[in-house]
């Protein structure tokens, strides 16, 4: 599937990845999914130039070792030319307006989304 998009899901909860995978199977367009369990893992992945660049990152906030906020800080260290086509969606169980505000203040965050995520949402962002 040469044209299919690459989605990186970053969440410490295994169930989240399972749900995303399950929903993607039912999405209109086929996608590749990679799972990361904290901010450090995904950052390491992105830092390695030989890895394929994701089109979409689904980023949880509350994670051990390196949480979503920390990741976003580190993310700014990456080259702009590399990050400019990556859409980051903050996907969290939080409905705290403060979290939403903070996420929307980040120049890299496309949208703040409260869990649970649905097929419709995924269809929307893949398109």
């Amino acid at each position: 599937m040469p044209n299919s998009k690459l989605i990186c899901a970053v969440d410490d909860e295994e169930v989240f990845h399972w749900i995303v995978r399950g929903n993607l199977k039912r999405a209109k367009k086929p996608c590749k999914l990679m799972s990361f369990y904290d901010g450090e893992e995904i950052f390491k992945y992105l830092s390695n130039g030989s890895n394929s660049r994701p089109d979409i990152i689904l980023l949880d906030i509350n994670m051990p070792i390196c949480d979503g906020w920390k990741f976003l800080e580190n993310y700014s260290l990456l080259k702009k030319s590399y990050t400019k086509d990556i859409n980051i969606y903050v996907v969290t169980s939080s409905i705290d307006p403060k979290d939403q505000q903070r996420a929307e203040l980040s120049p890299f965050v496309k949208e703040f989304v409260s869990k649970p995520i649905t097929v419709d949402f995924l269809d929307g962002i893949i398109d």
């Binding site: 989240f16 509350n62 051990p64 070792i65 705290d96």
Partner: protein, 639 residues
């Protein structure tokens, strides 16, 4: 003298003449015959006569005598002589130059007659100098007296007791509207006195007259306009052989004075009444702080008697004065010395004064106001005291209530803060599993059979997690609800042993080693369950977060520092990167090691417990270098 007149000769009756001479000499009198026709004078010639020297000087010449007459009287004398006609009586007073150089008043009287064609004036001449001078002086006094009486607006009376006549002078008409004549005698005086005062005035007059004491009395007296005025009457008696015969005195109209006096005393009475019935103490102090006047309330408030107070220093060491905050007040900071010092009003100083007599403390609100003269010099200090005790008590109650309120509000604030935190935890940590369940259920319907099993097992897992979270939150709630935990005296050793028993399987599994030193602080006063929770969570973390292949080593130590106990817990676990996670380490649901059964509750829980007790916990850690927790248990004084 008749004999002299009828016989025309004095030499015929020798004896009689001798006696006459003597009498004339004593009476400073001389017989005199002036021969106007021959211009000669003929005096009694005996040397003992009062006029002997004078007559010798004139050498019997009429003209020479006339020359000696006082220039002012001389003309009268010349006219008298020149106009003398036979059968006419003459009478004259004039001054004549006495041989000693002074002028004497002389009075001459007699008759002129024709003696064989010669005109003669025959009669007596008498030296009346003393009498005349007295008369002049009396006239002078009378004039002066009248002037004074008029000027003073007083009435002067001269009462002849025997006849009852009164001579009125002075300001009679101005004061009473009567002429002196209309004033009349003593009966009239009595009649004009107000009927109610009459008897008293008259009785006192009789008594004064009898005792010869001064008469001094006030009475109302009728004026010509039928109105009464107030009279002050003062008189003295002249006595002869112990009996008053004359009374001299003055009456003055004191109506206005009496009115103002009455008004003054009434206003003074009212003022006294007001001051003494004030509930506020008022005092007047001199510059040495000695009280001059005080009202009753002042003594009462200060708990002393008037005798103890007035005239003595205003500062009694027994008062043991304290200020609003209960600190001892230095005498120089009292309001009166300050008012004297600054010349300004010192307002609303609150003083707690100990009353030795009553053995209590009264709170006074004191104002001190300096009284300055026109030059700004301080004369007195007026000081007012009001009883502040009731207000002070109210204030104390208020302060107490306020403090309670502050504590309550602080408590409420803290509770509120935790409630908010709790609500966040609930919304976050419960929302997470629930949203997963919702998504899983949604997927379930579209799943293959194989996937369905997987979905169910996820649902089970997530639901279990949610339940655990609720249980954890319940633990947290328990801590927060028990604000007033019972304190127990616990040996650290005992608490540690309890935990060792609880975690026995885990400790054994990992071969964990625990070294403890509680020698310095053996015991602590703390809620038992909190201390156990602290031990349990810290020890179980140390075992849980240990690198594989490593043996957990824990060392625990208790120390004393300024009444606090410092509790140190050290392990050799994975450690936490505090630079990354410093803010989150004690937060609920924060985990720092991936793929573990960590829930992020333990540290949150003990932090809450420690905070509830007003104590502090801090942490030092580096990845792979272990973790050190330091807890400061406050107010743990060794007994």
């Amino acid at each position: 003298m008749n004999e002299l007149d009828s016989n025309g000769s004095v030499t015929t009756m020798k004896d009689q003449d001798q006696r006459l001479r003597k009498a004339l000499s004593v009476a400073k009198m001389s017989l005199l015959e002036l021969d106007i026709t021959n211009e000669t004078s003929n005096w009694s010639s005996h040397p003992s006569n009062h006029f002997y020297e004078l007559s010798s000087k004139t050498n019997g010449s009429l003209n020479e005598y006339v020359d000696l007459v006082h220039p002012m009287d001389r003309n009268d004398v010349i006219v008298l002589i020149k106009s003398a006609k036979p059968g006419q009586k003459f009478h004259n007073q004039h001054r004549v130059l006495w041989p000693d150089g002074s002028y004497h008043w002389v009075e001459s009287s007699g008759m002129t007659f024709n003696d064989d064609g010669i005109l003669k004036m025959t009669g007596t001449v008498q030296d009346i100098t003393e009498k005349k001078e007295l008369e002049i002086e009396r006239e002078d006094w009378k004039i002066r007296h009248e002037l004074v009486a008029k000027a003073a607006g007083i009435i002067v009376y001269d009462y002849d007791i025997k006849t009852g006549d009164i001579i009125w002078s002075g300001n009679v008409s101005e004061v009473l509207g009567f002429t002196p004549k209309e004033m009349g005698n003593i009966d009239r005086w009595v009649e004009l006195i107000h009927p109610e005062d009459r008897e008293r005035a008259f009785r006192e007059l009789e008594e004064a007259q009898k005792s010869l004491n001064a008469y001094e009395v006030y009475y109302r007296f009728l004026k010509s306009n039928s109105k009464y005025c107030d009279i002050y009457d003062r008189g003295t008696f002249l006595e002869r052989e112990g009996e008053a015969y004359r009374m001299l005195g003055m009456m003055s109209d004191v109506t206005e004075w009496k009115k103002s006096q009455e008004a003054l005393s009434e206003s003074e009475n009212r003022f006294r009444l007001l001051i003494n019935n004030l509930n506020v103490g008022v005092g007047l102090y001199d510059l040495t702080m000695v009280p001059i006047v005080h009202n009753a309330a002042a003594y009462k408030l200060l708990g002393i008697s008037e005798k103890q107070f007035v005239g003595k220093a205003a500062i009694d060491p027994d008062w043991n004065v304290v200020d609003m905050e209960g600190n001892r007040m230095r005498p120089e900071n009292y309001p009166i010395p300050q008012a004297i010092d600054t010349k300004k009003s010192i307002r609303q100083t609150v003083m707690g004064v100990f009353r030795p007599k009553m053995n209590d403390r009264v709170w006074l609100m004191v104002d001190a106001d300096p009284v300055l003269d026109d030059d700004g010099k301080i004369l007195h200090v007026i000081c007012t005291y009001s009883d502040f005790t009731a207000r002070k008590r109210v204030e104390e109650i208020l302060a107490e209530k306020n403090e309670q309120l502050m504590i309550t509000s602080d408590l409420v604030g803290r509770k509120n803060e935790r409630l908010l935190e709790f609500a966040q935890i609930v919304s976050h940590n419960l929302r997470s599993p629930l949203s997963s369940i919702a998504a899983l259920v949604d997927l379930y319907e579209k799943c293959t059979l194989e996937e369905k099993d997987e979905a169910i097992s996820f649902i089970r897992e997530v639901a279990g997690k949610a339940l655990n979270t609720i249980d954890d939150l319940n633990e947290v709630l328990k801590v927060q609800q028990s604000e007033h935990m019972d304190l127990q005296v616990i040996r650290f050793e005992d608490a540690l042993n309890e935990v060792k028993t609880l975690l026995k399987p885990n400790l054994k599994e990992k071969n964990a080693m625990i070294v403890s030193d509680f020698k310095e602080a053996v015991k602590i006063r703390y809620p038992n369950i909190y201390l156990e929770s602290i031990f349990l969570n810290l020890v179980s973390n140390s075992i849980k977060y240990i690198d594989p292949g490593k043996t957990p080593k824990i060392s625990i130590k208790s120390k004393r520092a300024d009444g606090d106990i410092i509790f140190e817990f050290k392990d050799n676990g994975k450690g936490i990167d505090l630079q990354k996670n410093g803010n989150d380490i004690f937060k609920f649901g924060k985990t720092f090691h991936s793929k573990n059964d960590s829930k992020g509750v333990g540290l949150y829980l003990i932090k809450n417990q420690i905070r509830t007790m007003g104590d502090e916990i801090e942490v030092k850690s580096k990845p792979d270098r272990g973790t050190t927790f330091r807890i400061k248990f406050r107010n743990q004084h060794a007994k």
